[in-house]
């Protein structure tokens, strides 16, 4: 038997009939078609599927789609405004906070919630705050730096401009 689910994702309303066992992450990827939210484990360890549900960071594999009924969701696709990156996205780019990029959407969503809760975290607070997310490429060094940089930007220090193509501009 299918159940109706109505959600707002990145500001857009969606309504679908879904199986009750459908995980929220599968709903976002396979039904809504937003594939930026990734799946890296079966047991809610890796955090690749982290999104915001009513403003709170949630691993979207820990919820059924039907539990999101009536909620407002933000995924990685909803973080940039047009071509303008969210300061955390910009900081991940500037600080080389990603390599293969698979865990990155989850880290950015977790970091966004972390900085909302604690706008000026210490290195230790960042490391502990991101313990629910796994990265196999970066050794976390540049992820931590990216979050520190984003914290500075978001607290009003002017953002540095990324050198996209030296020799080109």
């Amino acid at each position: 038997m299918k159940h109706k689910v109505a959600v707002t994702v990145n500001g857009r309303k969606h309504e679908h009939e879904v199986e009750p066992r459908l995980l929220l992450v599968h709903y976002l990827r396979d039904v809504v078609g937003l594939t930026g939210t990734h799946i890296g484990c079966d047991t809610s360890q890796c955090g690749a599927c982290t999104i915001h549900v009513d403003g709170k960071a949630v691993k979207s594999c820990t919820m059924f789609a039907v539990q999101a009924d009536g909620r407002s969701l933000t995924t990685i696709e909803g973080m940039a405004t047009g071509d303008e990156l969210h300061p955390i996205q910009q900081a991940f780019w500037d600080e080389h906070g990603l390599q293969c990029g698979y865990c990155t959407p989850g880290f950015i969503m977790a970091a966004a919630y972390l900085l909302e809760q604690n706008p000026n975290p210490t290195e230790d607070e960042i490391r502990r705050g991101l313990e629910g997310n796994l990265c196999r490429c970066t050794g976390y060094v540049n992820i931590v730096k990216a979050v520190q940089t984003a914290a500075k930007t978001m607290s009003g220090t002017p953002a540095r401009k990324t050198q996209v193509a030296a020799g080109g501009n």
Partner: protein, 784 residues
């Protein structure tokens, strides 16, 4: 090369905008109309005869398209899983491996049946309804017991469990040197079995178009051209009928080099059902089925003089091959050839024994053989130093291969291209404040604390590789690298490389090389890879820290050919002799008249026009294959400072310094990133990770990320990283590899620090992973 602007600069990655916004294209993001989803039924036992498989219930389950067992693939798939000779040409016994088991299962997780259904959920539900009657057999788990006469066998058809048993050198030099010894140190060193755990598990999407007889295969691979080679062969198709697309790949670390059973079964099912078929691996499937790394032990003996001069080493390597020979599983004996590290020895004798067990096959995992070599030699050198009461720094300096010795032919005949090991060591000691650290250690010991300092003065061979070495190792295909450079009429440059970037940032670094060489903006260069329908006829993939030192060089060669053709055309336009034309900063001009010049883009446009020099064809493009004359040999020093909690046994890394030398650097930001990640993978081996099986039943006990401890940011310290630069003489860019360096270096530094910390208790050696539980028990026992 033109005046350097981009090479050597911290250029932000061109791949990042799509990846940080959720617009990357990983395997599970691809959707084809009418797709059927596959789910595999896997053996729940380590070793058994299959008595019967009942698919009745599964076949009737909702949404099921079909249920297939081994017999359904007869006539669809030919041949067995490939096993490359690698470093052991003579194998004793290589069990035949078909993608799906028919009569016998030999590890927990081996495929016995597959369900196709309309949805992923329906496929998974039905796979659970397949009834298999197993007649269980003893599981072979312990390497030494497996080698004993009369041991149960991992495969019923085998004579015994010996996959290979090979000795590399005549023993006489080693034996003679042992006779001169003042001290002989012996140690057994374990290498814990590891799961690679790329954050993106594997996956396959196959679409066979029957009327065109063409197969498109999307998969998460480090090695798309080799997959095309293997899969086309198995399916009886020409390579031209198979297109492999390996899009954004969420990490590989070696586990996505070799072909897997699903890579054959999924396209076969697409052909059998005339539908696209998709399968995405779960994390548990990944840990119980993707090839593992390490899983070895070493029996080592080192002979030395009283003054610390190293004389000779005997090494026997035991490799847990697993239930089948991994395609490149016999690469791991390279550890024997690298066992001498960065030191001079009179003799090294090395024997490798590959043992079949009822576990997942092992294959290269980041570093593959070289982390094991570093770990054993760096441990053994520390044990000699401990025996002789020498400082670990002094024994290393006394025995290093010296800068003037390069090119240095080591004990197994490999030629180390360049190095300055002491320089890197000194820099690391300075950055760490070594003398102060030793003072601090003396103080902390007085307070009954356990602080240790560990060194790893590592070397590596990488950049596979010279055809003379690699063609025999693969069974025929030399691991050179190819590149194609195409310049469009408006001067846009499209570069195709046969390597495969899955986090390494090739779209950025390779473009930096090209843009500099052509003197054009980075934006004019488009770097493409991962689609066998594009570029050269064959590419060789990314592994073994080879992409820049082989692939990057191939690109620069192809660009050179394009520049040369442009020079001919420019000479024609300038009505000058070709040898009088120079190419500088993106412009051609006649020597002495730089004011009258033609930009590269103008020459590109002209190359598509009329009035070309006699015999010149239109267009501006070139292909190059680079066969490197030697491997490249990065090196460095890592230093770890560890404090162990005497109450809990928890080892905490207080400081970590890495000074690495990978020759010339294209993009320092990316090099540092590779080092960071590599170090953490080795810290993970040293302190946290181990694939554990039940030793009697062969059941995998670490099948999820709950049980298999991949460290998070909270477990990991920050690092001090620096470089020395010793250009490689092996290639025109002067570069060496850096992708595996951190992993090759770090486990020895951490474990040496732990052993140093515990030495006041009389503890000389600790095996990995050095978990709190293990250390607590060792300390407790030592105190009694």
């Amino acid at each position: 090369m033109a005046v350097t602007q981009l090479v050597g600069a911290k250029i932000h990655r061109r791949e990042d905008p799509r990846l940080i916004t959720g617009h990357g294209h990983y395997i599970d993001d691809f959707v084809r109309q009418g797709t059927a989803y596959a789910a595999f039924a896997r053996s729940p036992v380590a070793h058994a005869r299959i008595k019967s498989i009942d698919v009745t219930d599964a076949s009737k389950a909702p949404g099921v398209v079909g249920v297939y067992t081994a017999r359904d693939f007869k006539g669809q798939l030919a041949g067995t899983h490939p096993a490359a000779p690698a470093f052991v040409a003579e194998k004793k016994y290589v069990p035949e491996r078909f993608p799906i088991a028919e009569k016998e299962v030999t590890y927990q997780g081996e495929i016995v049946a597959v369900v196709l259904a309309e949805t992923k959920g329906q496929a998974a539900d039905a796979a659970n309804m397949i009834q298999v009657d197993y007649d269980e057999l003893p599981a072979v788990m312990d390497l030494e017991k497996a080698l004993a006469k009369g041991s149960p066998k991992a495969h019923e058809a085998g004579q015994d469990n010996v996959c290979w048993d090979f000795t590399y050198t005549p023993l006489d030099l080693t034996e003679a040197a042992f006779k001169e010894a003042d001290v002989v140190v012996k140690q057994r060193i374990l290498q814990n079995r590891l799961a690679p755990v790329p954050m993106e598990p594997r996956g396959v999407l196959a679409e066979y178009e029957g009327f065109d007889k063409k197969l498109t295969l999307w998969l998460s691979s480090q090695n798309p051209h080799f997959i095309r080679l293997f899969v086309s062969g198995a399916l009886g198709l020409k390579e031209s009928q198979v297109r492999v697309i390996s899009p954004d790949v969420g990490g590989g670390f070696g586990s996505k080099i070799s072909p897997y059973p699903e890579d054959y079964l999924v396209p076969a099912l697409s052909r059998m059902t005339a539908r696209p078929v998709k399968w995405i691996e779960t994390r548990t499937e990944s840990i119980q089925n993707a090839t593992h790394g390490r899983g070895q032990f070493y029996d080592c003996e080192v002979a030395a003089k009283k003054d610390g001069t190293l004389l000779a080493m005997r090494v026997v390597q035991y490799v847990d091959v697993g239930a089948y020979h991994g395609t490149f599983g016999a690469f791991q004996p390279v550890a024997c050839l690298m066992a001498g590290g960065g030191y001079k020895w009179k003799g090294i004798s090395a024997r490798t024994v590959g043992v079949l067990t009822n576990r997942v096959p092992t294959d290269p995992y980041r570093g593959a053989g070289r982390p094991e070599a570093t770990h054993l030699v760096e441990r053994m050198v520390d044990l000699v130093a401990l025996e002789l009461k020498m400082d670990p720094v002094d024994i290393r300096k006394k025995n290093f291969i010296q800068p003037e010795d390069f090119p240095f032919t080591q004990n197994f005949g490999l030629v180390v291209d360049s190095g300055d090991y002491e320089k890197a060591l000194d820099k690391a000691l300075e950055l760490a404040g070594y003398a102060e650290l030793r003072k601090k250690q003396a103080e902390s010991r007085k307070q009954g604390r356990y602080m240790g300092i560990g060194l790893s003065t590592w070397i590596e061979l990488c950049g596979f590789g010279p055809s003379a070495a690699t063609a025999p190792a693969t069974g025929g295909i030399a691991l050179v690298e190819s590149a194609q450079v195409r310049v469009t009429p408006t001067g846009a440059v499209i570069v195709y490389t046969g390597t495969h970037s899955h986090g390494q940032g090739h779209e950025t670094t390779f473009s930096q090389i090209v843009a500099d060489q052509l003197g054009v903006p980075l934006d004019n260069v488009e770097l493409r890879h991962g689609d066998t329908a594009e570029g050269t006829s064959f590419g060789y993939g990314t592994y073994g820290s080879r992409s820049l030192a082989v692939g990057g060089v191939a690109i620069s060669m192809a660009v050179g050919k394009v520049i040369d053709k442009g020079k001919k055309l420019a000479a024609h336009i300038f009505e000058a002799a070709e040898e009088d034309v120079v190419f500088e900063h993106g412009n051609y001009h006649v020597k002495g008249s730089p004011d009258k010049s033609k930009a590269f883009g103008e020459i590109a446009f002209a190359s598509y026009g009329m009035g070309l020099p006699e015999g010149m064809e239109q267009g501006l493009e070139a292909v190059a294959y680079f066969d490197p004359p030697n491997l490249v040999w990065p090196f460095g020093t890592h230093l770890a400072v560890v404090e162990i909690d005497g109450e809990t046994g928890t080892a905490k890394i207080e400081k970590y310094v890495a000074v690495d030398d990978c020759g010339n650097i294209i993009n320092p930001m990316i090099v540092d990133g590779q080092i960071h990640g590599g170090i953490v993978q080795a810290i993970a081996q040293a302190l946290y990770e181990e694939v554990v099986y039940d030793e009697s039943s062969g059941q995998l006990k670490t099948g999820t990320l709950i049980d298999y401890l991949v460290p998070s940011a909270g477990e990991i310290p920050t690092f001090i990283v620096d470089k020395t630069i010793t250009p490689s003489p092996t290639n025109n860019l002067g570069v060496k590899g850096i992708g595996e360096a951190g992993t090759i270096a770090a486990s020895a530094a951490v474990i040496n620090a732990i052993c140093d910390a515990l030495s006041p208790l009389g503890i000389k050696h600790v095996d990995m992973p050095a978990t709190p539980d293990k250390l607590w028990h060792m300390m407790k026992e030592a105190r009694q």
